[in-house]
Symmetry: C2
Subunit: 216 residues, 2 copies
Amino acid sequence: MIKAAAEEFDRHGYDATSVARISAVAGLSIGAVAFHFPSKAQLADAVQQEGRSVTLAALSRLATDSTPPLRLVIDLTLELARLMEEEPSVRSAIRLARERPDAESWSDAWLPMVRGLLDRAYEDGQLRTDTLPADVTMLVEHLTSGAEAYLRRRMGSHPAFESAVAQLKRVWYLALVGVSADEALLLGRPRPTTGPGREQQAGSGPDPATGVKPVG
Amino acid sequence: MIKAAAEEFDRHGYDATSVARISAVAGLSIGAVAFHFPSKAQLADAVQQEGRSVTLAALSRLATDSTPPLRLVIDLTLELARLMEEEPSVRSAIRLARERPDAESWSDAWLPMVRGLLDRAYEDGQLRTDTLPADVTMLVEHLTSGAEAYLRRRMGSHPAFESAVAQLKRVWYLALVGVSADEALLLGRPRPTTGPGREQQAGSGPDPATGVKPVG
């Protein structure tokens, strides 16, 4: 019943899914469903709970003491993308959290784990000194949402597209090494042409190619 | 009428919004609305068109020949986040594109512009040599989706949170300079402790802290 509900909520959203429809898909009477879940809200709560449990179980299988924490954060987000692709309860939990803002959100289930790992990564010297664990946590949230949005677009109209996991790996690589050329320049790799502002030194100031400063 | 429709679709989604409800909010008869838009789908198409037009108009005001292209890409994505915060037609266009996968998507309106700028940024040497414009375009898509997801979460339950624009600025800074400490180490900034794999040289291979390689 939870499985049928997850699939219906995932496909049609909270408002457009009825208990009658879920009952029909599950092959049960409305009365049997209502016996366990007197309201659609309770059924949605149960699906969101299931999505969070599946997620936490999968992540805890990955977490080991021997993996460096930054590496583990990347592995965890790739696992989240895989779950989004393969687990209707996870997709459904994400969609329902978006459509029912008062319910417990999917990301609240795993964000504390990511934040703790990033604190350790910072202490271990895996992050740049000017990079705060809170900001990297925010980056992880953005990338995870991006993977989900990509997946929804792809499910709609482009079935032959690349997997969200493969795409997220490429995006993570960029975020790890940085997109901007300036540091590469300092490492002595010459560029075919130079843009404006190349004479500045890289460091904790604004990025010379772009003028973007860390905020706050 | 488009404005009322945008607000309703933004708040309740495509399936849960009725033409009757939009008519009531707009203060018009159902007949008057139906005269212009015989179906809900046509009304949603018009709202999505409006969201794309508002977006393109705002972006074209920013685009100038004098701004370096990578900087302009960042400015454009921050403007997209501002539009999401302030323009119901833009939020509605994004939500409707997610819920109506066959309709023209919001991001298709501006992604070609971003891709063109990133191609120029690469030619101008603003991107790292091992960074492909297609991958940075993908990063931009992920970050933009992340900003929208953050905004939806915040609208639901946390009205006092930071603006999506301020948050995106911080995330962009990380993506520009890179999260991983290894390049900073090569630049001679000592770290309090060293993690495993520090003896490797950075370069086009896997990130030594994480083992993540560029895919494809």
